[in-house]
């Protein structure tokens, strides 16, 4: 997939009013790899994704995908926000949520096409949630909710997938389902970025890591990023994990 474009983040700085959340981040995200974004709470992981997608203003910097700014090409993006951002009491069923993935492609004033419904059905099938299609989203477990959001992202037929902490409140089975699908997406030449903060065994699922703490600590192949020095700079002295550190 050498021809697919990559995302280039160039001198990105982001503030929340007078608090600096990210300082001068430069990195490249290539398609075909599973990219994990790691860092302690408040490191700016969510902020990095939001700023890359143009969902919030930046102080300086530019994020391009191919020849244009990424924010101008959001119809190629599927983004699943952090669980806490969603109101789970909202009156919608599993089916309603997955069909949201087809809204942009369907276009203004049009009704969903039969092929959109097929795509949504296939996406639900793929995450193992088809039998729940008429359930209210509030009547699902955390892992099931996360799978529904993954199905919505799949239905978007995007080129760039961003997941903010998809493994929070998720059991082993769902974690495996999610990782398998992320892997398939990467192998199909998509850009896959996953924010995570579990430094356990599951980190070996990622090919590339982006390690943040207000600024970029390191980015690149997993073993290259996971050094004792980098981990100390990101997490301070108190990180209990060194099992996979080179």
């Amino acid at each position: 997939m050498a021809t697919s474009p990559k995302i280039i983040v160039d001198h990105l700085s982001v503030n929340y009013r007078d608090v600096q959340a990210l300082r001068n981040v430069n990195l490249t995200v290539r398609p075909g790899k599973m990219v994990g974004i790691f860092g302690p709470n408040g490191a700016g992981k969510s902020t990095l994704i939001k700023a890359m997608l143009g969902l919030m203003p930046v102080v300086t910097g530019r994020v391009t995908y191919g020849d244009d700014t990424l924010a101008h090409q959001l119809d190629r993006v599927a983004y699943v926000p952090q669980r806490s951002q969603i109101d789970w009491t909202f009156p919608a069923t599993v089916w309603d949520v997955v069909m949201m993935g087809r809204v942009k492609k369907t276009g203004w004033f049009n009704r969903f096409s039969a092929s959109s419904r097929q795509l949504a059905t296939a996406a639900l099938e793929r995450v193992g949630m088809l039998e729940f299609r008429d359930r209210p989203i509030g009547a699902l477990s955390g892992g099931q909710q996360q799978r529904v959001f993954l199905a919505r992202a799949l239905a978007q037929e995007a080129e760039i997938f961003c997941f903010d902490e998809p493994f929070v409140g998720v059991d082993q089975k769902t974690e495996t389902v999610l990782f398998n699908i992320f892997r398939e997406l990467a192998q199909a030449g998509k850009i896959v970025m996953v924010i995570n903060h579990d430094l356990g065994e599951s980190i070996t699922n990622f090919d590339q890591l982006i390690l943040l703490n207000k600024e970029l600590i390191a980015a690149g192949p997993r073993d290259w990023v996971l050094t004792r020095d980098n981990m100390t700079r990101a997490y301070g002295g108190h990180v209990g994990f060194f099992g996979h550190v080179a």
Binding site: K50, L74, F90, M99, W108, Q156
Partner: protein
């Protein structure tokens, strides 16, 4: 006279008056659009915004009256300006949105009351009619204006339904997927302002919040999807406004408050007896007591 005839007679008697026909027509249309548009406020936890917009229309209304412009237009513009100022304060300062709403709507409301009391001395305009509604005073022109607004609002909700659903459920996801969420939000504000303006004559600006929120909330306890909430809510809104009008006709109650009392009673019924979420029936029966127990301090602590 048989019972059926008596009931029919009871039902049709008010309809022989042209003023009752006009006010019922307006009440039905307002019952529908308030419930539909109010459902968006409810699911986005923006009930207070409905209150803010409705209180903010007054100064625009007064100024339009002074200038000899259609007061609906003035009220609409003031409602929209208030949402813009609220958004501006909220994004440009650390003031929270609800505080911004409180500040802006009370300022607009005070200005509106001042203007109207000043001009009502020498003009045929009555502050109370705007505060509490004056549905028996609706003119043919009011019926026409309300019909135009209702058609516009329902058309917009129908045409933008899938976009507004995505946006109101997951604004960030919708924006990240390429939807113009700023525009959708502005459109929603316009719909709310239009709805409030159309409702002024029916319930007045103080009680309109009830018609915006209660029908949708009642339906929300009964059905699981947004479009069902809107449809059932509209039915509840119509039932409330029509029964309120009949109550007002036969028992001689003020019509706005009568409508609001009916819709509140329907909400109370749904809250107590909804099969899905009812406090007294339904799958989680007994939960209030369990909940209460968990709230009490346990012995050991």
């Amino acid at each position: 006279m048989s019972l059926e005839l008596a009931v029919l007679d009871w039902f049709f008697e008010p309809l022989q008056f042209a003023f009752m026909q006009r006010s019922l027509a307006v009440a039905i249309m307002v019952g529908i659009i308030c419930s539909v548009v109010g459902s968006y406020l409810m699911v986005q936890r923006l009930a207070l915004l409905g209150d803010a917009i409705s209180h903010s229309v007054l100064p625009g209304l007064a100024i339009a009256f002074l200038l000899g412009v259609n007061i609906f237009v003035g009220a609409f513009i003031a409602g929209v300006i208030s949402t813009v100022i609220i958004g501006w304060i909220h994004t440009r300062s650390p003031i929270k949105e609800d505080a911004a709403m409180g500040i802006v709507f009370s300022a607009f409301f005070a200005l509106g009351i001042t203007l109207i009391t000043t001009i009502q001395k020498d003009n045929k305009i009555d502050l109370n009619h705007f505060l509490f509604g004056n549905i028996l005073g609706v003119t043919v022109g009011d019926v026409r204006d309300t019909a135009i607004i209702a058609a516009l609002v329902l058309m917009a909700v129908f045409l933008l339904y899938k976009e507004l659903l995505f946006y109101s459920f997951d604004p960030l996801g919708a924006q990240a997927g390429g939807l113009p969420t700023g525009l959708l939000n502005a459109g929603l504000m316009v719909l709310i302002a239009l709805t409030v303006v159309a409702s002024m004559k029916v319930v007045g600006v103080i009680l309109v919040l009830s018609l915006l929120i209660a029908p949708g909330a009642t339906a929300y306890l009964l059905v699981p999807r947004l479009h069902q909430v809107m449809l059932l809510g509209a039915a509840i809104g119509v039932l409330s406004s029509v029964s309120g009008m009949y109550l007002s006709y036969y028992v001689n109650l003020p019509s706005g408050p009568a409508i609001v009392m009916v819709v509140s009673a329907l909400f109370a019924l749904s809250f107590l007896f909804s099969p899905r979420h009812g406090v007294l029936v339904g799958p989680r029966r007994g939960r209030p007591w369990q909940k209460l127990r968990t709230l009490l301090p346990s012995k050991g602590s």
